[in-house]
Point group: C2
Chain length 476, copies 2
């Protein structure tokens, strides 16, 4: 580990993030501009994220499959809005096996087109519906300004693609997934996301309606962390996905698509991280607890290691790392695991063995307040409990931070001050794409999503009456 | 399910395979020539395969990571043999974001070059070694003649890439992985593979030594089902992967790479399948047991479904599917699940409920011999046992088939007869790449791998004395 201190969040949040991702060994820059290498520590986190989502998808009847990486270029043009949205971002294969291809192939930026093509082949009757397929994979979008995990040319994600007999079922699916995303964010990632519908300007290219989960980062900027799209019959019509209904009438399907990507790792880093490094939620942390054995003399070693092994053995369901590296000081190890965001640390030295105690340090509460001595006895119970306490505390802390930085405003002057200096603005809003664009131009803030609202109010910008509230914020 | 009978294995093995892959819904042809869609049933099998490998890799100290899909074209040329091996198979991205790229990017056919580049950045000292990283992902090779699972433009695999301080450690790793591959094949896939070293002509482009596991298919052809390469210092020198040893001397690392792909699904299909369809080994089968409830009248339904639910509840660790589809006959269902290779089937009807029995049918023993009535009582014990019996029987059957089709021969005439009509030839062999090429030209048989041997003998082809035995066979 690099001994130099991290740039602090207040000095430069963006630089703090970049340094932290590299120094915690979550990811590294690849030799191709804008691409990343997800290193083993980052990938272990992603595997835990995948598992938590995959269980939720399977519990709600979804199955996984794999569709091709390469898509004929002509497929991309079949849905009008879709091609406009994605054409500028495509990576195109023009040579294969040394020969110029007759038709260029696009490296998938998303898979609606190729999956739609297969669905039109597989779906014949209402008995074949619903089709509830998810895919874990990689996609490529030719982004100009990139940042590790947040926006890279290639990224990893899951993309669900479902087909239904009715508009109602498709809408139900879209919301079901939005709720799964929000539930994951809150209960696994300890991120108190706001979930809601996107505006027309911000929706997915080709969708009827897009919903998203929006997370507030430590610098108060918003990060869109997952999207669920009701595609209506747009793609079914473009790709001829039809079925015979119970009355033997040919109908177009209603489809949905939805995705969460490795971007969520960026959300976890920027929601919970501090100037010492990552702070990972126990439910997802690759290492939930690190044990640092401390001894000077060889004769102390045996007793210390016996205690260490007893703790490891007593906690078969906790992901534990014993840091028995030689040649580095305990202080170095502490810093290292703090940088890597391990939720709980135990030190065990000869005195602890003698006193029958463990020295604990919680990552979520830095400094002295997070440290305690606990009796060795009963660790099998209180350590898993403490991990849950940390998880809950991280969510509570992030929720307070979020709520402290959302401001109800009713005029443009206050709005500007909020989105430029303080956080998110929650406002009455009369839908107007032109006004939305103007606000973006002036303040760089975008409409993140619709908020829950009751009654009516006056749009802070147009002065028109409306029954809708929305969140505006600067975003990644 | 298509009601038409499969083409039989004896009629046309290749056609039997193609039909079966489609009709069992394991995979489908993608709209791009040579690409496949792995459908949910096939992907569920792949997930079980991945899990079985991943556990073995992690238990031996390996970790997962993700390296980029796109590789600068110049990287491919750094290792001389590597570029010669892969240049004809590359898919090349020349446009990104609408612009012609300064340097074309290759879609990875394998990742030695990009991973080597990162290792040269990460590895500094002997303390950083060994590096034991695996990656699950997709790769693209521009193949001309393709076949679902066996050879497709894009396929899914794991590729391990390790770096070591000494030649001995690298060799140890290479063999450790070969043994993991063979262990998986035998104990999970019930495929009695032969494991051994490849000849110089057949080794991986850039390797010092390649080892493989070779499986015998139902038509007696060989299928290379996994490879483990000792790369020596070839890639370390080409990509400058160096470390300071304990004496502060700069040394090149020794590296390995190894992979198993979705091809192993083809091996499972062609090792165990029969004229009724797939026969999946219980350890990997997505559905280990299907229950078909049988009743005519509504008043029979409740008692039958109670028994069905009791069986499901009593077997929480068995992957069970209850086929309660309306509007299709039990006979149709039986054929369907036979086609899909589910290891065990239970029928439960009103009479079974009355008698307290279950009607069982084993997929590995077609026809009457595989059917039995068992008391309902004790199913929690005997059904898991029966799944293990099926697993063991499949391995025994495949082992007998393999052994019945390997022939020791000592002259070219017999050799030709064996490899063209009977199976694999096991022969004394004096290494000679020219003779190997001649044999391939005349008989289409290739040297699959070295066999274990004792003492010395006379090479069947050159007549020279040798201490080596090898397997020759026609292969996929």
């Amino acid at each position: 580990m690099d001994e130099k201190k991290l740039t602090t969040q207040t000095e430069n949040f963006s630089e703090w993030y970049n340094q932290l991702v590299l120094r915690s060994e979550m990811a590294d820059y690849a030799p191709v501009r804008g691409c990343m290498v997800v290193r083993p520590y980052g990938w272990a986190l992603w595997e835990n994220i995948q598992k938590a989502f995959d269980e939720r998808f399977k519990a709600t009847g979804h199955v996984n499959a794999a569709f091709p990486l390469l898509i004929p270029q002509s497929f991309m043009t079949k849905e009008k809005e879709h091609v406009e949205g994605f054409a500028p971002e495509l990576a195109v294969v023009t040579y294969g096996g040394g020969e110029l291809l007759e038709e260029p192939l696009v490296v998938r930026p998303t898979s609606e087109t190729i999956i739609g093509t297969m669905y039109s082949k597989w779906i014949h009757s209402y008995r074949d519906l619903p089709v509830l397929i998810n895919q874990w994979g990689n996609v490529v979008r030719w982004e100009m300004r990139t940042k590790l995990f947040l926006r890279t040319l290639e990224f990893y994600w899951q993309e669900g693609h479902t087909a239904h007999a009715t508009a109602e079922e498709a809408q139900e699916e879209t919301i079901k997934i939005l709720n799964i995303y929000a539930d994951f964010a809150r209960n696994e990632a300890a991120i108190p996301v706001v979930a809601g519908q996107k505006s027309e300007s911000e929706k997915f290219a080709g969708a009827k309606v897009t919903y998203s989960i929006e997370a507030m980062m430590g610098d108060t900027k918003a990060l869109q962390s997952g999207t669920s799209h009701n595609l209506g019959q747009n793609f079914a019509k473009a790709f001829d996905i039809k079925f015979l209904d119970e009355n033997n009438q040919l109908q177009y399907c209603y489809t949905t698509s939805w995705g969460v990507s490795t971007r969520i790792i960026g959300a976890i880093i920027m929601t919970h991280g501090d100037d010492q490094g990552l702070v990972l939620p126990p439910h997802l942390a690759p290492i939930q607890m690190v044990i640092v054995p401390i001894f000077r003399k060889e004769e102390e070693k045996q007793a210390v290691m016996e205690a260490v092994n007893a703790v490891v053995k007593g906690l078969p369901n906790v992901r534990i790392k014993v840091d028995d590296r030689q040649g580095v000081t305990p202080g170095f190890k502490f810093n290292d695991w703090e940088m890597k965001g391990v939720p709980l640390r135990i030190e065990i030295g000869p005195k602890d063995v003698q006193n029958g105690t463990l020295a604990l340090a919680r990552r979520d509460i830095p400094g002295r307040d997070g440290k305690s001595f606990q009796p060795m006895q009963g660790f099998e119970t209180y350590i898993p409990e403490m991990l849950e306490t940390i998880q809950a505390n991280m969510l509570a802390k992030a929720t307070k931070f979020r709520d402290d930085h959302i401001f109800d405003v009713d005029n443009f002057e206050d709005f500007k001050d909020v989105v430029e200096n303080k956080g998110w603005a929650k406002v009455w809003w009369s839908d107007d794409a032109e006004n939305e664009a103007k606000i973006k131009e002036i303040t760089k803030a975008t409409l993140r999503c619709y908020a829950e609202s009751e009654g009516e109010g006056i749009c802070f910008y147009s002065g028109r009456k409306t029954d809708k509230k929305v969140y505006f914020a600067r975003a990644y």
